[in-house]
Symmetry: D2
Subunit: 366 residues, 4 copies
């Protein structure tokens, strides 16, 4: 890539660059058609070192650190060190993300956050790119509230929420409002970052608890599946929807599995065949916006009796789609199925990048 080409691409900064999500940003942005990594930020402990040195022990990806990023000097996460960037991708942990992301927002950056801190803020869109990119239309209002010219803040959802809402949106679009969703998750260890889950806790084991996770699943779904009001200033949750979640950690590297049961408002409910067809044919707005990372099929419906499985199906749509299988009748609600999504691609960095691609398409990043 020549310097010339880079000048046409949009310079981005990565916050929390040495963490698990930050590493995925770096891996996924390698050779990206819209964006190039101009700066990387991490904790003061890492600041001042070349990225390759700062991340040498924590880099846990199956591909090596790209040379160009490896030679960048890690900055502390202050807006002044990112003045050459237009877009900020934040993989910061929630214990620091709140204030730092606000600082970048107020410094007029386009900020895409993976942390929970601002997700439920009434003027911050909580966007799963395969579900509700239209929620970004609140950005104009958000800018006016904060007095910004070009900055804005978009968050993506919790990793276990992200996969689920893609399927729920397809069902809601096809058959109208949902009333009840009960979901049990079996979540991968990479969702807890690094060092994250101690091996003594998870090898040959299941841990039936992930702090805060069930609450996130239950509340985020409603915001994402809701709608933006007519003057584009507030979100309205679907009034009928209730979600109940039980979250478990299992000994899987990447890929959150979910056992889902759904009840529709509509009586009689749609048939299993119609539900299957609706899931398989669902087309996301991300595709309509021609986001380069958007998968051709947002939902890959698997026919085999024992799929999806993390080990084989986690990379559907390059990790940016979901896989659904075992669509069958529930003898309490209307339909049961198994769902798999990549928790650190679609469930984290991949969503942020697609959100940014869509923001370019929508003209919020010019």
């Amino acid at each position: 890539m020549t310097q010339n080409t880079e000048q046409k691409r949009i310079p981005v900064g990565i916050l929390g660059a040495t963490g698990t999500v930050g590493q995925r940003f770096i891996q996924l942005l390698e050779g990206h058609p819209y964006f190039f990594i101009q700066a990387v930020g991490a904790s003061p402990r890492s600041a001042g070192k070349p990225y390759s040195q700062a991340a040498s022990k924590s880099w846990k990806q199956a591909t090596p650190i790209p040379d160009k990023v490896g030679s960048l000097i890690v900055q502390s996460c202050e807006p002044t060190h990112f003045s050459n960037c237009r877009v900020i991708f934040s993989g910061l942990d929630s214990d620091v993300a709140g204030d730092i992301e606000t600082a970048f927002l107020k410094a007029d950056f386009a900020v895409f956050s993976n942390a929970k801190n601002h997700r439920m803020d009434p003027i911050v869109p909580l966007v799963v790119p395969l579900v509700n990119p239209s929620h970004m239309d609140i950005i104009k209002h958000q800018r006016s509230v904060h007095g910004l010219q070009q900055g804005f803040l978009v968050t993506n959802a919790n990793c276990s929420t992200t996969g689920l809402v893609v399927a729920l949106k397809a069902l809601q679009d096809a058959f109208g409002p949902l009333s009840k969703v009960i979901v049990t998750t079996m979540q991968a260890i990479s969702g807890a970052g690094y060092p994250g889950v101690p091996s003594l806790d998870i090898l040959g084991n299941v841990v039936p608890y992930i702090s805060g996770e069930e609450d996130k699943l239950e509340t985020e779904c409603s915001k994402i599946l809701g709608s933006l009001n007519s003057d584009l200033t507030a979100f309205e949750a679907p009034p009928e929807l209730k979600v109940s979640a039980s979250c478990n950690r299992v000994a899987v590297i990447d890929g959150h599995m979910e056992s889902v049961t759904v009840e529709f408002v509509k009586r009689p409910p749609p048939s299993i065949a119609d539900i299957t067809a609706a899931l398989a044919s669902y087309t996301s707005d991300a595709q309509k916006h021609k986001a380069p990372s958007a998968p051709q099929h947002s939902i890959v419906v698997m026919k085999e009796a024992d799929r999806p499985q993390p080990r084989m199906d986690i990379m559907v749509g390059n990790g940016n789609a979901i896989a659904v299988g075992r669509i069958r009748e529930c003898n309490i609600f209307d339909v049961k199925f198994s769902l798999l999504s990549h928790n650190t691609i679609l469930g984290a960095a991949g969503s942020s990048i697609m959100n940014a691609e869509i923001a370019v398409s929508k003209g919020f990043i010019e």
Copy 2:
């Protein structure tokens, strides 16, 4: 142990002795106060060899084969080879269990089966010893139908059913009928026997399918939680109860985890505190019958936020109790909790042995 002592104990035969369940029978009956192993049966391929040789490759227990059993010559599974036995414990696979267990029943043995074949037979009790040993009172009727003097057939439940119904029974006893139960299981590989699950299928993976398992869970719960009619000739299922199951295999050696949500018929439903107290104080009929293997506490309620876990809690009550934790409100049904049971002890051989102990106590084995 002297020969004299053995003459007082009841001689038993083990069918399917080289399999996973058969091995557990052998391990658990070592030093048992009521029973001693007189004979072992397996497929014709193994017949004629000393058990230690026949099982040398398949023995997968963490304790060695007891010497006395190791030297027994494996028999083919025909009643004539077990004439010295009073009780038959069957760990046979369902592809052969049906006919063989019937043959032993008709030959007037007391047969305790782990297979699914006879579970839903209207005159065969499906007994989880911590739940419904009173169902054995149909034995008199069963004998009369089959024209038997001392023989009878008792089955125990599918391993994932077994753990669940213990908790459901405690709730039903305390608060009246249940209306809806949605359960997602995360089941251990030992449930599939040996060689069972190929390692390429489960290492770092979740398989969202176990053939026939969801159906078993959904139908067996109703029979077990039902009652024997007044003339002790038929079972009546609880009319309100619906169960919906989603079954997954995970990379755990022993111990089925279940995420459970329950709705009561009673409105308003009991409080979480009352539910917790009811689970913790549940006393099984197995204890009342002073079955030697019955655990002191059938349900161990764990207070820690992240328990139960297979690796640490699987041996509660020596593997014959269940562990329950995370008892909390569900925002769709009334209560959610996590449940763990040992699938090859309480969920298989342990149940059979406790059932036989209770049958002794009730006078069905004299």
Copy 3:
């Protein structure tokens, strides 16, 4: 790809196509510049079915079956069904590979075998493409012995041998003959095929035994590191070399790790720095022959204290290179290091494909 392009590429058949190695052939040949899959063969049980159906349960790759291969009808493994093929890649198990591969050889096909059966045949080259492609020069002699026009048989090595000899060859080239090599392997489960290793045997476990593996490692190294005599009719083993192996199975999906200690004939031995440089700069004949699948660096030397590791480094050189780390002094022999290779790419299908690419380059396949 147009039909026209395919006509320029060489049609190949895959034997044992539904097995683990056969699946890798199919995956790796997708879009190959020299070869395209014309026919697939498997056991009589699979014959007559479309490949997608025959392999539906056994396909365990992380990418789906290519459509074009999925629609091929599986043939039984007889030469008459492969008459449109020029090259045969065999992933057959050793219990049937011997006779079938011989039949294809005698039917004048260019056969590349992964099985052990013909490896030690004195006129069959045992070729690791990164080590000894010059051994293929015995093909002329082999053809004359068998009276063939264009057929020949080349085998590749056992998976655990393959990784090791790449490093040994680099050392031998740089510093002269080796005298002693002691190696302990920690081998992945995919090396045992599917269903292969039962999960009850390997989850949370190490199995210190792989049938026949140690013998293969000890004998194959000598043939591969030896030379072809001057009239190109026989192989000569390096007289000084002794190899002693201890083979273990560990809970890893793909990637054989080996702890290696080496003694050179040369006294004083080379320094650790010189050894490191020799490994890092080793250039294989596969590269010199411009084999399209040959990695740019046959040996990737890792500097980090705790590498290589299967999870992160298994795909060096797209799975066709090896990774070496922890190069350090041994206080008994001269040098110790850790070595990692991909057992089903470089260690199986990848070697066969590179061997075939080199055979094209050398003119044995015209």
Copy 4:
């Protein structure tokens, strides 16, 4: 147990009581015939809390905290808080063990340490109870150097050393000095404590590095296999012995596997049959001293081709013996075998306890 009984037993204190080794001390001392736990010490952060609270998150044993220990108030690790104790078992990490253990020694306690800090001190015995309890006879000299009445310091060996030297001692006793030992270890995660190894590092992986481990193995073996000089004041290493180690971490909870090759000084070397007999018949001094925890067979020789394995054989001798299998010829040295030991029982707390039992027997603790 009555108070009266306790007064006859020896009161002990546990340092590092909340850590992995400390937990094992607590578990193994439950119901011990010689010792009872009088006090528990941990970091200042835990001090002042009941043990059950201080250890609630870190307790990772498969049995619960004994009630009596759970109610003890955790002390900071200063001798004044342990004045009621006669014996101190230290499970402290090496970053603090050096100074603290010295303080307890100088305060005249009998200290049994698991840390590396004092192991190579020339007047501190490094004792594996199944190997060299006679080394404790330096205690008189140690006391005289430090001016102590009843105190002394005994260390046990690194966990991977401990298993190995038991086999080496049996061979040395039977066949004279060993000249070369090459060992590759596959070590369990519990060896790294808690939180210890991150799950992202080890699930489906092998890590070919454990900091400092190879050096410990190579140096400790010589001290342990050496002898105490005639005036009982210094240790002499066996002059011929060289050990070379390669250490790997694998995804196993408990149990270090080792692939070992050995060369004897004696030519011709003993036969495989003689070696097997010598290992199987080895009787340790711990047994001769009737140490209650000493296993009946220090070395369990397994005949099966694929044993020992951590999952099945780790509890030989209640975790205080080792298992050896695959005893066979090496074509470079004289004999190869596979060895398994329990790294947190024999390899840590179990050794300390047996050492203390022997010290009682020898009269060092009166």
